[in-house]
Subunit: 231 residues, 4 copies
């Protein structure tokens, strides 16, 4: 099983402490902070990632699913935009496949659009008015309408959860700050499938691309914002 | 019925002749020419545009549909990428609708993703391995994976048909040349719903953004290219 | 000289009246309206377009320049973001030119980045803190950081002026609404170089992509908004 | 000085070995391979990164600069497109700064467009016909014309070097594969400023986004390709 061992965790913490010293001396690792109009973006918590037995299966769902359930409840109470992504293809295996170059690196040929594997996990099922974006790349923004959708809703803050931390969540976070949003990555809401990568990618992100925050603080923030109203 | 009258056509021809003089003196209206690896991109020939009774219904389907059938036959013979678009929304009418700002200009609130209205016209039904892109904006490229898909297929030429000329076909053509493709717009394969706009937008495009070509020449070109092979 | 003659104007008005009937019956030509946080985006009012003797020279500068001066004054009074574009290339004529496919249609090989021709007209010179974007395509958004910049400034409304109406202003307007902004095109602030194209493209835009407004109303709107403050 | 210590390197190798077992069992870590038309993209080897005394100063220039010199020589021999990036801002410190949200995380307020700090290091100075892209975000593709430029040149393979590995090189690699290119990251040509991040990010990339290759193999590949010719 893919758990980060205590030894590995300790080794990583030693590295991160040394790196943080340099980053802080140089003026990195600043706090981006929360804005006024957030959206919740849940990356790839579809069955191929949340359930056992797939090439993409991730760990820690016993923490990730309840964390996302709590965030969904808070988000819905304030009617903020909720967006789910899944990664799937109309023609995963054909000679002109829409997997593009990615099938040359990872097993995306297993992800068929419309299949059970590509459907959002029913434990966090989308409600009416919530978007499900079928993306083809790691980032929720790349080759999708997400940027335009969030902009039309005047969203300034993107709360990010899901999997995988070393792939889709990381690329989405980088695109979010590049696009002019404040990215907030929820520590307990993200995961991956090999040891160490969650810790390392959260470290890189917190240094350069977005704030990594505990779920308690994010829930507290959501409680405090003004509810979205119809325009 | 929305036919461009002979008087209007004549008035437009007088304007275009005068404008062409200026353009040619200045070095506009060049020929972009055909490349080696084309794709066929069919814009919004879904029922809401091809069938009577919708807000989006267009004219001239008795020419547009057979033209597209002929192009599809030629494209499939050479196994070039074929991409259809439709414009539709997951939540066309809700307070956080994915119609964005467009519903403030045009009746996109009538276009539900997955509905019969949004489905590609069965007379030109997609075959296996052909893509159907559900877009939210006028351009087939904006907020979609089309650019990445075509690039991964090493496409250099985009053959464009469909509707509407003043909306989605025009914006798609502009994005195609901006993205580094050679846009070829098929004169008999495009249409619209009000008089004059097909003529005018074809004129603007041919001056600045892509070559407007008769279907015979496009079919001849497709006959002459090398068939796509599996990579 | 490239003036739209009274006969042409009249012919166009007849067409537009007929087309407007159809559009309004179908639910097009809606008003998008003004938002709360505008930016002023001035397209290609650089010397190659505003001064005589260039391939790109446009008409009507005796109206366009004063209109933009008035808009700049109003925009600066409220400290809203002001963005200028120019179109220019690092290597306009080389074998690996950054003109891409566009030099196959129009004379962009005359536009060198850093040249006097590509500089913003000094009558509307940028002030400190105003952006100058060097773009390679028609749209001010395509292949530039404009979307991200406006989003980070929480802009919801894009006031558009400049040239050419059938080229860069049109494509920019289409991208603006696609991106979730409210596009407002200022009638007296835009122009082109051949007869009829200003009228026609304003007609298409007002039907589908943005509101075409007289400068008086835009100035009145700018007077009424809250000034931008430091964040 | 920011060198990855032998202990840290060893700890990382233990993690990577365990992770690679899982990845390979699952079908990750495939070889994307080289295509036929490469471009060389050199990320942020400008003085603020390559010279001492800046917030952005990176390590290992004694290896990185010669590696890039060797790659440039090979690239120029075959006349493939060469693109340099730098990160800089027109208004790094103003209230409407084009640093967007990034200045809330890292010290981009030190990077003025046109300054010596933002200029490409003269040891690897651009030659005529080579592009210098001034980007605002981590990725060389985000908010720039790079994708369109490479597409117009029919490039299928992107050879990547530069800094930083945990920032701009990583994000660029992710965007490259998303865009349909084959990313090749040159191991000796990349760097960063804190221990461990080069190793970790190369590991993540090789698993999911691009091939990490030694410079010898890349030089050998460049020697073997057909030279670019004028189109």
């Amino acid at each position: 099983m893919a758990v980060t061992s205590p030894e590995v965790k300790k080794a990583l913490e030693v590295i991160f402490a040394a790196d943080s010293d340099i980053y802080q001396t140089r003026g990195f690792q600043r706090r981006i902070g929360y804005g006024e109009r957030p959206a919740l973006v849940i990356i790839d918590l579809a069955n191929a990632w949340t359930r056992p037995g797939h090439a993409f299966t991730c760990d820690d769902m016993e923490v990730i699913i309840p964390t996302n359930q709590a965030l969904l409840k808070a988000a819905r109470a304030k009617r903020i935009p909720v967006i789910y992504t899944t990664t799937a293809y109309q023609d995963p295996k054909g000679p002109r496949s829409d997997t593009g170059m990615w099938s040359r690196k990872i097993p995306v040929e297993t992800l068929l659009e419309g299949s059970e594997a590509a459907a959002i996990d029913e434990r966090i099922a989308p409600e009416e008015g919530e978007m499900v974006i079928v993306k083809k790349s790691a980032s929720a923004f790349y080759g999708t309408n997400l940027n335009a959708y969030l902009h039309a809703q005047r969203v300034d803050t993107v709360i990010l959860t899901g999997v995988t931390m070393a792939g889709c969540v990381r690329h989405t976070t980088e695109d979010a700050i590049a696009g002019g949003f404040r990215p907030i990555v929820v520590r307990e809401g993200v995961g991956d499938r090999v040891p160490g990568v969650v810790e390392w990618n959260l470290f890189d992100i917190d240094a350069k691309f977005g704030d990594v925050e505990p779920v308690e603080k994010v829930l507290e923030y959501l409680e405090g914002i003004e509810a979205f109203t119809n325009r």
